[in-house]
């Protein structure tokens, strides 16, 4: 007997992972949540059948979505994370002693519950004193604030299903408003490779460009996401992602990472030509 999890990356391409057993499956108010145990990737979480994280490669995503803005912002004290019910981004952020407050907004309480039970490697810092969890629609939460946060991290699912509102112009605009005058917003930015992902990526970029004076895109290699080539958005009111990178200051913190380093930080912003062209269409 063989048991395989398959996710369609396009109509004609799929990724399959051999599964040892299914640990959890339930439909929450918002989505179907599944956790599997696999031979190659360890435990992994899917939402509505889409891969969210595996124990083997989650470090890439979570390090890149947190350390990039943290190494640029000179004194981030107050951080808002939207989505991220798995706790991976929170885990990375709690490693910074200077951060005073981390607000997490996740629409689906069940995701946090399930991750706490089955994925303790990421869901390990929810009880840090600085962390506050709000189970709410991200769009609703953020529109109530003005000039409040140093960094906003948007760790969303894909732009269909419950995460749809987190790819809209109104959301990015509301994030701009909720950020302080030198605030930075980083977001999960989809992939440039397959057509459908690329369309979502371009739309997101267009909307961010319309909302922020500085808007750059950086990349990482995430084996279990469609095509493995993934992008993040870096939008900011003041700081440039490379010119304002303070490498020595970050290195003095001695945060041990598996993927991120300050050289890679710079390199990640140098993109393939076809990606640059897609982005330029909307700049």
């Amino acid at each position: 007997m063989e048991f395989w999890f398959s996710e369609k990356h396009t109509e004609n391409v799929k990724l399959s992972i051999k599964v040892d057993k299914q640990l959890y499956s339930e439909k929450s108010k918002y989505q179907r949540i599944d956790v599997f145990e696999s031979y190659e990737f360890g435990k992994f979480l899917t939402l509505d059948g889409f891969m969210m994280l595996t124990e083997k490669d989650e470090f890439i995503y979570h390090e890149m979505i947190t350390h990039v803005p943290m190494a640029v912002h000179p004194s981030a004290k107050k951080v808002l994370v939207i989505g991220a019910g798995d706790g991976g981004a929170i885990r990375e952020l709690t490693r910074y002693k200077d951060i005073e407050q981390i607000d997490l907004v996740e629409i689906d309480e069940k995701v946090v519950e399930v991750c706490k039970e089955f994925l303790p490697k990421t869901a390990c810092k929810f009880d840090d004193d600085r962390v506050n969890i709000y189970y709410q629609d991200g769009l609703k939460f953020v529109r109530k604030y003005e000039n409040e946060y140093d960094i906003i991290i948007i760790d969303s699912t894909d732009p269909f299903g419950p995460g749809e509102g987190l790819f809209t112009k109104e959301f990015y605009g509301n994030c701009f408003k909720a950020l302080k005058e030198d605030g930075i917003m980083v977001n999960q930015h989809e992939s440039p490779f397959y057509d459908n992902d690329a369309t979502a990526m371009k739309r997101a970029h267009k909307r961010i460009v319309e909302s922020f004076p500085i808007s750059r895109v950086y990349q990482a290699h995430i084996p279990t996401y469609p095509s493995g080539h993934w992008l993040f958005g870096f939008a900011s009111k003041k700081y440039h992602p490379i010119r304002d990178l303070n490498s020595s200051k970050w290195n003095e913190l001695e945060i041990k990472t598996k993927y991120y380093n300050t050289n890679l930080h710079k390199g990640a912003f140098y993109l393939p030509n076809y990606v640059e062209e897609m982005l330029e269409e909307h700049e």
Partner: protein
């Protein structure tokens, strides 16, 4: 629940047209009749686009499917079920929009030279029907809320005055509700009308939910009105262009059917008919729950939008016991004037910049339609989020924004006489004092500024230019560029 109610409810579980179509599909009848696409086979691209399931039931009337012009079986049954669900004596399935239902109401009640009392903020289909039958409109000035710049309902005193001055009028028409959600005291208007042997016709294009929801204004049938037209496709969920015409006890339904058949297609679409049938069943079964959710979503949005500031999402506080007798809380109407932006500007920004399409924007208001199709808060949050952003990014100085919307018309000729009279074309700015022979509509919401037979004034001309400048779409004129207007020849 008593046994009788249970049986009634079970009856509403049926959808005879839908069931007949399903049965029909299993029989694999060989088509040597119209439509010529023959279950989609003759039009591959269309079938691919709309789906085989849809084309398979795009069929013509035939014995097992009944005939809309003369129903004797499944359509008749479906009409009876609808009548029961809406508390009407008789219901007609309409396939040419609520416009055709409104026409049928007017044409079956009025003849040439007859008078009808009606509020000025009627839909253009009402005045169009007057052109067809030659009846004469007696307009009631709907009160205006100056702060919001919207026309309201009819004041009971105004109705009494009109009835006293025109005791020969045959009918009174009532909007229940207006586009903005405002209701007149329809029960009292029915009482006044019936006392003078006048009929009450209701335009309930935006009031389908009154028949099913809780804590909503009275429906026309419940208030005792004689006829009502309503758009099942608006808040009720059927396909565009499908509507109902309801008749009360005092109306000869067989005569109404003859009138409908004067202009109705003899090939009524089964897509539209089945959508009416299925939607009626859905609302009869789940209407209460559905509209409770719609109310919950609208109330939430109203509260949040009012918290943004500068927007005013109005509601029951407008009720004044007369010209605003009741308010339809499913309507998410928002005044935008404090923002320094016209409703139409916000309407455009929402679509062009935020990919959100709302129902309409006029000079001072927008309306977002919340309906049977809204299942959760996701899209409501997007709308609120976008409005928050529009305030941050587009807010302007509001001086000189507010302008009165209602202009009292002077009817000089019946709409029919003016429409068919000899006419000449003049420049809009030179038309002061002439008698207009065509419509000038502000769209949306489709309320006439001028109708055929009315005197053009300086105030009206100024308002037309103002609305044009604000980006409202003006329609109805023969001149597509909206520079010239047709007026009566020989008048000055």
């Amino acid at each position: 629940m008593c046994i009788k109610e249970k049986i009634e409810l079970n009856k509403q579980d049926k959808a005879p047209i839908y069931e007949a179509l399903k049965e029909f599909k299993t029989k694999r009848i060989v088509p040597f009749d119209v439509p010529g696409h023959k279950r989609g086979k003759g039009n591959k691209d269309l079938t691919e686009f709309l789906g085989e399931k849809c084309l398979e039931v795009d069929v013509n009337s035939m014995k097992p499917l009944d005939n809309l012009c003369h129903p004797v079986s499944v359509i008749k049954e479906a009409e009876e079920l609808a009548a029961e669900a809406f508390g009407a004596a008789h219901v007609f399935f309409m396939v040419n929009g609520t416009t055709s239902a409104v026409q049928a109401m007017i044409l079956s009640v009025l003849k040439k030279g007859d008078k009808i009392i009606l509020p000025r903020n009627v839909h253009r289909s009402v005045i169009n029907a007057l052109i067809l039958c030659g009846a004469i409109p007696v307009y009631i000035n709907p009160q205006v809320n100056e702060r919001l710049g919207i026309s309201l309902g009819m004041s009971v005193n105004d109705v009494v005055r009109a009835v006293t001055q025109n005791p020969d009028a045959k009918a009174i028409l009532v909007n229940n509700p207006t586009y903005y959600g405002i209701c007149s005291n329809i029960k009292e208007i029915v009482r006044i009308a019936h006392e003078k042997n006048m009929l009450v016709l209701a335009d309930e294009a935006h009031g389908t939910h009154f028949y099913f929801g809780e804590n909503l204004p009275a429906s026309a049938m419940a208030a005792g009105a004689d006829m009502s037209s309503f758009s099942m496709h608006k808040s009720g969920g059927s396909l565009t262009q499908s509507s109902f015409l309801l008749c009360g006890e005092n109306v000869n339904a067989n005569y109404v059917r003859q009138v409908i058949n004067l202009t109705q297609t003899t090939s009524g679409s089964y897509l539209l008919l089945s959508s009416l049938d299925i939607s009626r069943r859905n609302l009869a079964q789940n209407g209460k729950e559905i509209f409770n959710r719609v109310i919950e979503l609208s109330e939430y949005a109203r509260e949040e939008i009012n918290q943004i500031g500068d927007y005013y999402a109005y509601s029951k506080e407008l009720i004044n016991g007369d010209s605003v007798f009741d308010f339809d809380i499913t309507k998410l109407s928002v005044n935008t004037l404090d923002l320094g932006l016209a409703g139409i500007e916000i309407y455009d920004i929402l679509r062009d910049e935020y990919d959100i399409q709302i129902e309409f924007g006029d000079i001072g208001n927008i309306l977002a339609y919340v309906s049977v199709g809204d299942k959760n808060y996701k899209n409501i949050e997007r709308l609120i989020g976008a409005l928050t952003e529009i305030k941050r990014l587009y807010k302007k100085d509001k001086s000189g924004m507010l302008r009165h919307e209602y202009i009292n018309p002077t009817v000089e000729l019946s709409p029919q006489e003016a429409f068919y009279a000899n006419k000449k074309s003049v420049l809009l700015e030179q038309s002061n004092g002439e008698i207009c022979t065509e419509f000038v509509m502000l769209y949306p919401p489709g309320i006439p500024i001028l109708a055929p037979g009315e005197r053009i004034t300086k105030e009206i001309i100024d308002y037309i230019f103002y609305a044009k400048e604000k980006g409202c779409v003006l329609t109805g004129l023969e001149d597509m560029e909206i520079k010239r207007i047709n007026v009566l020849k020989g008048e000055c």
